[in-house]
Structure formats: structure tokens, C-alpha cells
Point group: C2
């Protein structure tokens, strides 16, 4: 242990290796509701790719488990430390290295947060359109989980905006993939393989992102519906209509009252409609021309009326922004209300009504309260599950995930598997797929030191 700390200090400087009481509790957890905080042997704060390479050479030599942390805003335990390993935290690698408007590219270190990047892009009329609801999240963390967010319905997820990576392999080798080009047919796409690998294949030290012109005009539409099923049935029609919404969310009545109360938000929905509404659809339209956005709002409003909306409210700009901001806090509202776990399964868009109906039945059967909201436009439903008993909750979640998979879906649409959804992932995954993933893991990380207990059972991953 003394040797270890000594070697790490040599790599990053005395002040940048924290151990014992110097490890702030922030480093011991992420935002997953189910995880127990764990103190690592040491927290290491590199300031450069070379220092990361030094750290990994040491870790390889000592066969030391390594977990990587960005801002710690993950929801699946992806950066939960292990007690017999180190935590690399990117607090000191937060440089926006380059913004290149000609190539529509930004190059950042992994610790840069979404709001920092946005602050740098906005003055140039540019935007990185992946916005997973938490501005303090790091780009490195977004790459690790292939983060999504409300705008994925139009703009896609992290995977669609990362053009290249610099990573350090488990043995300390530095590798670059991709570059400032938007497509390539030149060998296997290692960039895509690394995205979403949750720190189990390599440690990302630089990210080249595709950025795009910022759309100046926006409008927010709120449509209450009498039933959740009607909301879910409306979604494919809206997607097919060609209005191309930037945001297409559903919020059930419980989630809506939670987030509006928490934000002190009055959306001006009359009481008689509130009383009849069991679910809300929120649609944001964006464009380059105000007139066009207004026209699209009109045609969408007409469409929503034919699809059974109780009314259609075009929110004033301030209220629209406030509603989206409040929706982004939905997780914290659930957490404050005492939610015991969250589920973010993804499934074919048209399968959502049946899925939500089944979830409601299952919740009723076991006395759980389940509220929901989510990216219904891309089939990614977020459920907050209130059921304290661990065993019964696990059984309920098992059934919910099985339902999603049987409907042609997957365990997580954007949160990732991490440590906390691993058992559900392993239980529901095809064994051929899993075996290939494990073999790929061994290719990148033969000693099995990167991201232990994430995605796989460690013993199997390194067997």
C-alpha cells in the first residue's frame, strides 16, 4: 500500500493522490439509489494523458483494479469505487482543448462538463446537442455510458456525436481512434466499441465531438391526455408526421405534480383539465425561423387534438424553459420523495403502451408505487420504483426488465449497466452476445483491472 501510494505520487505529484481521511465522500458514490458508498484505496487526480498512462502502468504492474470518475452524476454505479482499487478522477482534466468551427468539432478533456462546453459553444452559435438533463455531467462520463437525454429523439445520443477518442489502454499504451471526420470505412470502428463500454475497456483522455449550428427559435407544447395509453399511442403519429421534434416526452400525473410542485411551477392548466389528465405530452419544436416554428406548432396542435389531447397549450417561452428544466430534475424529485430504484429500459416506440400497462399491473400486484416520465419519442421510459423491500423490488424489476426485453427492448436506454443493473443485464442477455463481450474485454484488458464489477461478474470477465 505504501509502495502503491509512492508510485502514484511519483506519477501525479503528492497533492494529487488522496487516501484515507483525505478521500472526500463525494468520491465514494455516484447518484445510483441502490449503491452503498465505497472508499477506494486512493483517489488519483491526473492532469494529462501521460499521467494517466503512468497510473495505468502502475496499476497493471500491481494488478490493481481501476475505476474512473467524471462528475459522479451517473445513475447505475458506473463510477462506484472498489475498496481494493484506485479511483481515477478527472477533476484536473477539464480543458476545452479546441473549438474548430470550420470542421464543426470540439476537442475536450474528459472532465469537461456539458455546461462548460455549452458556455464555450454558445457564443459561436454552436451547440453540442446531447443533453442528458444534468449540466454538471462530464463528457467523459457521457462517453462511458453513451448518454442520451431529452433531445435524442431528434439529435441522437453520445455515440452519434463522438468522432474520435484518445484512450489509454490497461497497460498504459496511448491510442487514438477516429478523428475530425464524420465518417470512415477503414477497419473496425473502435471509437464506437469504446463508447458505452463504461470504463471496462480503456480510460478515455480526450474526446473529439461533432457540434452543429444552434437553432435560435423554439416553442414548447404541453398536451394533457386522459390516459397514459393515449399519450403513448400518439407518439408514433407525431414522429411519422415529419415535424421532427427536438423533445418528445411523456410525464405521468404523479411525476408532473412532483416536478411542478418542486419547481414552484404553474403551467396555467385549468383545474378541470388537471382533474381529467392522467398523463402529459411535452413537445419542443426548434428551428432557424420563428415563422416556421409557429406553423409547425399549429399543425402539431391540430394533430394532437385529433389524437385525443384534452387541450393543447403553447407555453410562453419562460414557462416552456422552466418546464424542461423542471423535467430535468425529475430524478431528484423522485429521490427526494424516497424512490428506491429507477428503471430506464428502452423498447420499440410502439411497444410502450403495452409495456406501461404491464408495469402498472405488476406494480399493483406487489403493492409498489411506480411513477414515470421519459423519452417516449425514442422508446426510453424512465420509471421511479417505490418499494423498500430489496428482495421483492429485485423480483419486480426482474419481471419489468423481462417484459421490456420480451417486447424487443434492452435493459438500459441511456443510464448504463454499471454495478447496479448488472444482475438484470446478465440475467436477460443472450449468452452468445455476453461471451463475445467478455472476450473483447479480455482483448483490451487481459488482467481484468478496468472497471471491475461493471457489466460483467469480474471472475467471469477475467476467467
Amino acid at each position: 500500500m505504501t509502495d502503491l501510494l509512492e508510485q502514484l505520487r511519483k506519477a501525479v505529484g503528492d497533492r494529487n493522490v488522496l487516501s484515507g481521511a483525505a478521500v472526500h465522500t463525494d468520491y465514494t458514490h455516484d447518484e445510483a439509489l441502490t449503491a452503498t458508498a465505497v472508499a477506494p484505496l486512493a483517489v488519483v487526480l491526473p492532469s494529462s494523458t501521460e499521467e494517466v498512462a503512468d497510473i495505468l502502468r502502475t496499476a497493471s504492474q500491481l494488478q490493481l483494479p481501476v475505476v474512473v470518475r467524471g462528475s459522479g452524476t451517473g445513475l447505475s454505479g458506473g463510477c462506484l469505487p472498489v475498496s481494493d482499487g484506485i479511483l481515477i478522477a478527472f477533476d484536473r482534466m477539464r480543458a476545452i482543448k479546441e473549438i474548430d468551427p470550420e470542421n464543426q468539432v470540439a476537442v475536450v478533456e474528459p472532465g469537461v462538463t456539458l455546461e462548460e462546453l455549452d458556455g464555450a459553444l454558445a457564443p459561436l452559435g454552436l451547440i453540442y446537442p446531447v443533453q442528458p438533463g444534468e449540466g454538471s455531467a462530464s463528457i467523459g462520463g457521457n462517453v462511458a455510458t453513451n448518454a442520451g437525454g431529452m433531445r435524442a429523439v431528434r439529435h441522437g445520443v453520445t455515440r452519434h456525436h463522438v468522432l474520435g477518442l484518445e484512450v489509454v489502454l490497461a497497460d498504459g499504451t496511448v491510442m487514438r481512434t477516429g478523428g475530425k471526420f464524420v465518417k470512415s470505412s477503414s477497419g473496425y470502428d473502435l471509437t464506437q466499441l469504446l463508447i458505452g463500454s463504461e470504463g471496462t475497456l480503456a480510460v478515455t483522455t480526450e474526446i473529439t465531438l461533432k457540434v452543429q449550428p444552434r437553432l435560435a427559435e423554439a416553442a414548447t407544447i404541453l398536451a394533457p391526455f386522459a390516459t397514459l395509453a393515449e399519450v403513448a399511442l400518439a407518439v408514433p403519429q407525431i414522429v411519422s408526421s415529419g415535424v421532427d421534434p427536438s423533445i418528445l416526452e411523456y410525464i405521468d400525473v404523479l411525476a408532473m405534480s412532483g416536478i411542478t410542485a418542486s419547481a414552484g411551477l404553474d403551467l396555467g392548466v385549468p383545474d378541470e383539465i388537471k382533474a381529467a389528465a392522467l398523463a402529459y405530452l411535452v413537445v419542443v419544436l426548434e428551428g432557424t425561423h420563428a415563422v416556421r416554428v409557429e406553423e409547425d406548432v399549429d399543425s402539431l396542435a391540430t394533430l394532437l387534438s385529433t389524437l385525443g389531447a384534452l387541450d393543447v397549450f403553447v407555453l410562453p417561452s419562460g414557462a416552456g424553459t422552466a418546464l424542461i428544466a423542471a423535467r430535468e430534475r425529475a430524478f431528484f424529485v423522485s429521490k427526494a420523495a424516497g424512490a428506491d430504484d429507477i428503471v430506464d429500459a428502452v423498447l420499440p416506440r410502439a411497444g410502450i403502451p403495452a409495456y406501461l400497462a404491464r408495469v402498472a399491473t405488476l406494480a399493483g400486484q406487489c403493492g409498489a408505487l411506480i411513477t414515470g416520465c421519459g423519452h417516449v419519442g425514442d422508446g426510453n421510459v424512465h420509471l421511479s420504483v417505490f418499494l423498500q423491500d430489496d428482495e421483492r423490488r429485485h423480483a419486480l424489476l426482474d419481471t419489468i426488465f423481462e417484459t421490456a426485453i420480451a417486447a424487443g427492448g434492452a435493459v438500459s436506454g441511456e443510464h448504463g449497466i454499471g454495478t447496479e443493473k448488472r444482475s438484470y443485464f446478465l440475467d436477460t442477455s443472450d449468452t452468445v452476445n455476453l461471451e463475445l463481450m467478455r472476450s473483447i474485454k479480455r482483448v483490451f484488458d487481459p488482467l481484468g483491472i478496468l472497471g471491475p464489477e461493471r457489466l460483467f461478474d469480474t471472475d467471469k470477465a477475467t476467467a
Copy 2:
């Protein structure tokens, strides 16, 4: 050999194993200009996933090399047979299994061509927007090379539209990846790893594609420029402007005269402008509303004038379509003119002026003629190289590829590496990247039977 044919006949039926004189010359090549036709031991025509699995079990047992062919329209020798192996051709796996408008998804067998799929989607108001210029190309081949095309600047490439695959592994195991959902954070993205792997990792038997609403309104703009450099410099400005072109192509004067002459096309460009123009920019704008497209045409025309266009022609609908169709035949025009090889390096968009200037210098130095056109909006330049002497042409291409890579690019933007660009790919690739790719190849195909001589040197891939 008799044993082999016997086993294959058992798998697919007597009529569906071709050998000797029964192998039509079409099966012995693709469209690569540099490849020599090769007859395989046998051509096998499966009709189902199960038959493909049977064939691969036989191949594994006999350690028999396997090459896969769709329509044979590839440009890099990706489906060039090997003389000691078999060719699986998907002539009989051409079913469009499902079009699901609610989920905006199409499920197809690999032999389905782009024009067949378009024929099925158009009546539903849907489109698969990846259009690599050759309607007879198969979707399976598109997946193998991660095909792009003129519309990639707006809609992305094959990789961005494949949601899931069914593949057969080298040992005959059938595996499914992804599904009818548009995003996932549930383990490594094997779908993305398989796309663009050129038949070296697995054999694709079913593809789930994302489709989208068809845009009804379109306009084509032709802008002649005095120099190639001005065209290339205009491109980043157009991309930044937010008009979001569906097509953004440059065509140099030689390529333009070749393709218009070949198509018998008169675009109405006055002689004095033709005389002054060394390069043309072609921009297609598409949208849901005619008025908006017209407005965008106006603002783009203004922008083009400030960027140095000699004039701006808004082509009548028929001429616009004819120009795009003629541009799609550019390869065949080059081929008919006797081109000796083609290059489709991709690089950062803003690096194109310097790249093209360097290419012109290199061509001059070695007495080669190089004409060009290409997807300048996404940095993917297509060059036709006229230089008969193999050795000198190889040396020239080596330097051209080195130039592209030094500018931050890659060997191929959409054609793939195949057999014909392999030496350039191996010479210019980073060894760490290559070694990881080879190790991944060994995970999927430990016997090294799939796609021999493609991407890697076979001996190294299986070492």
C-alpha cells in the same frame, strides 16, 4: 473437393451450389478497377439463416475460407472470391421481411437492394436515406462497408441507420444484436462493431434499419467557381449556415464534362461561365414545405455569391434530378475513360483545399491525370487516377493516402478497404489500433476463415 460440394449441396440443395463452368463470371469480381477476377471453389446460394449456419459449420470443419457477396457493386474488392474458398452469394435472400411504420423500421435480408427497399418504402411516405449512388447495391453489402453516399452530409451513413443485426458467426452460431430501438446503453455495441467489418467478423443474415418520413420538396443548386480552392473554402460556410443541405458535392471541370457528356445533359450554363469555371458545387435542399425550400434556396444563393460563385443556377426539377443521377454514374464514366484506380480518402472538411492542392501537385510531378468529385460536405473526396504503370501508381497513391492521414483523415470514407486498399490501410494505420483489430478478429473468427485477405494480411490475422 467432392466431399465439400456434397456437404454444401446437403445444406442448400443441389441447384444452389455452383462450381466449375457453372460459376458465372459475375461472381468472380466486384467493380474494383485494380482487382483480377478469381473463381472460387464454389458459389453457394443459401435461402435462409439456417442454411448460412449450415454452410459456416461446414466451412469451419474444413477450415475453408469464406467470402460473402451481395450485388457485387463494391469498389474495393470486398467480395472478390479466393480460389481456395467458397463464395456465399445472397441472390436468394432478398426478402423485405417487414416494414413497420409505427416504429419507423424496416427488416430486410442482406440481398435486398437499395432500389427494392425504396420501392417498398416510397408508397408509405418513408425513406431509407442512405443512398450510395448505386441502387442495385445490396443492403448487406452496404452494412459490410458502412456505405455512405451523397446524402451522408445530412443523414449520416449506414452505421447511423442500422439498429440491429442477425449474423452467423464463423462456427455457425446465430446471434442477434440490437433491435427495433434507436439507442441503448446495455453493454458493448456489437452492432456498431460488425458494421463496416467487411465480412471478416461474421456473416450478416438480417438487418433492422431505421427509416424516416420522406421529404417531398427539393431544389438543386449549381454554382460554378473559378477555382477548386474556392469551392472547398465555401463548404464549411455552407455547413455552418444551418441550411442543412441533403447533398453538398463538388465536381471538378473534367469530371463535370465527363458526366454531363455521358448523360447527354445540358445544364444551361452559358459558355463564358463554363470557360471560366474550374469546379462546380452542387447543393440539394429538401424539406416538408415548398415555400421553406424556396426561401432557403434564396438565402443559399446569396451566401454562394458572397463566397465567390461565378453564378448560381437553380436547376429545374428535371435537370436537378438528372444531374444527381449523372453524378451517381461518375464512377462508370471514369471507368469508361480508362481510370486506373480510385481513391476515397476522408478528411476534416476544412482540410480539403490543401489536400486537393497537394494532390494536383503530386499528379503533375508524376504525369498522372487525376479528376475528382465527391462528398465535400462530409470531407469524402473521390479521385479518379489515370496512371497505368502499377508501381508508379502505387507510389503515388501511397503519398496521397499519407497526405490524407497527415491531415487527420482516413484511407476510405465509404468504399471500404477490401483486398484492393489493404496495403495502403496497413501501411498507414497505427500499429496499436491494428493489433486490437486483429485480436478482435481472432475473437470472432479464431480459424481465420471469414473474409481472408480483406483488411488484414491473412497470416497476421490468424497468427
